[in-house]
């Protein structure tokens, strides 16, 4: 990937490349785009560029090329995630920085919402399986919405081999 990074003149001189690297990491890590998803880690700078001084400001711009780790979900993909919030309308789950909502209409019909001492949860008809906060769930992404700063998904567990994987992490 590529990005233009601007450096003020006090950083020119020795250690400039290191400062450039840190600046790139600060600007890019944790951001999200619809095309590439969440940038989670800058792994390598392949080209720092030569630097061009801007007339008037004295700052220099560098056309940097770098490699990174990006988290990018796709429609139809199955992901494992952690339940964060449960309401009678469905539950929210996180696959890392990516949030997914599973509507109650996309939860198997035998599951029932209940709100007891342990907090809100969905319990299966045979009482064997419960979707509780912090449990692990395998979800299929059926839709994705992208805006300026985040990607949000709609998921289903109403198919074979989807649903609860494990209980809450202790």
């Amino acid at each position: 990937m590529e990005r233009i990074v601007t450096l003020p003149p006090q950083h020119f001189g020795s250690g400039m490349r290191e400062t450039l690297h840190k600046q790139l990491v600060r600007e890019v890590e944790g951001t999200c785009s619809g095309k590439h998803g969440y940038i989670v880690s800058v792994t390598k700078i392949t080209d720092s560029g030569k630097g061009r001084v801007q007339v008037g400001t004295g700052k220099a711009t560098f056309h940097m090329k770098y490699q990174c780790v990006a988290f990018r979900p796709f429609k139809g993909e199955v992901v494992d995630c952690v339940v964060t919030q449960i309401t009678k309308l469905g539950f929210f789950a996180d696959a890392g920085p990516f949030a997914i909502f599973v509507s109650s209409s996309l939860i198997p019909e035998d599951y029932e919402f209940t709100s007891g001492d342990q907090g809100p949860c969905f319990i299966s008809g045979d009482q064997d399986v419960a979707i509780v906060r912090n449990c692990e769930v395998r979800v299929k992404i059926v839709g994705i919405r992208v805006d300026a700063t985040e990607i949000f998904g709609i998921g289903t567990i109403k198919e074979d081999y989807l649903g609860v994987l494990g209980g809450p992490e202790t």
């Binding site: 095309k35 989670v40 780790v69 990006a70 796709f74 199955v78 081999y161």
Partner: protein
């Protein structure tokens, strides 16, 4: 298939997209390893109080929780084995999803990774290929 903003929706389309031309798909275990190394290096450079930002921290926690391989050597061996085109012919995303989702059997693999159906359509040879891949999953991944 790309939506009207040109953003790709379907994982099968990334092979023809310029946006992902030089991209490689990583196992969750690979991401855990990379972020762990990053964190250690930055703590050495910037002090032991260094912490990831919230988005990266979420990704790191996720990678630690859902990492599937016993070690980085296992992940590498698994990828090398399944990248053998003559023996398997899997696409990169199929290898990655097999390693991340660890299906127990052919039926589960086909349900979780729909594009694998085309290998099953090859007949007995295709089904045996997927069974061998699943054996590799059981050999290298935590159960």
């Amino acid at each position: 298939m790309a939506n009207k903003e040109g953003v790709i929706d379907d994982i099968n389309d990334i092979y023809e997209s310029k946006d992902f031309e030089n991209a490689r798909m990583l196992f969750i275990s690979d991401v855990e390893h990379i972020l762990n190394e990053n964190l250690n290096r930055r703590k050495e450079q910037e002090g032991t109080n260094y912490e990831f930002g919230p988005v990266v921290d979420k990704a790191f926690s996720y990678a630690k929780r859902f990492s599937t391989f016993n070690s980085t050597n296992d992940a590498q061996a698994f990828r090398e084995e399944l990248s053998n085109t003559a023996q398997y012919g899997f696409q990169e995303h199929e290898i990655t999803l097999l390693g991340n989702l660890c299906p127990d059997n052919l039926d589960e693999a086909v349900h979780l990774i729909p594009s694998i159906k085309q290998h099953v359509a090859e007949g007995v040879e295709g089904a045996e290929k997927i069974d061998r891949a699943i054996s590799e999953v059981q050999k290298h991944c935590r159960q």
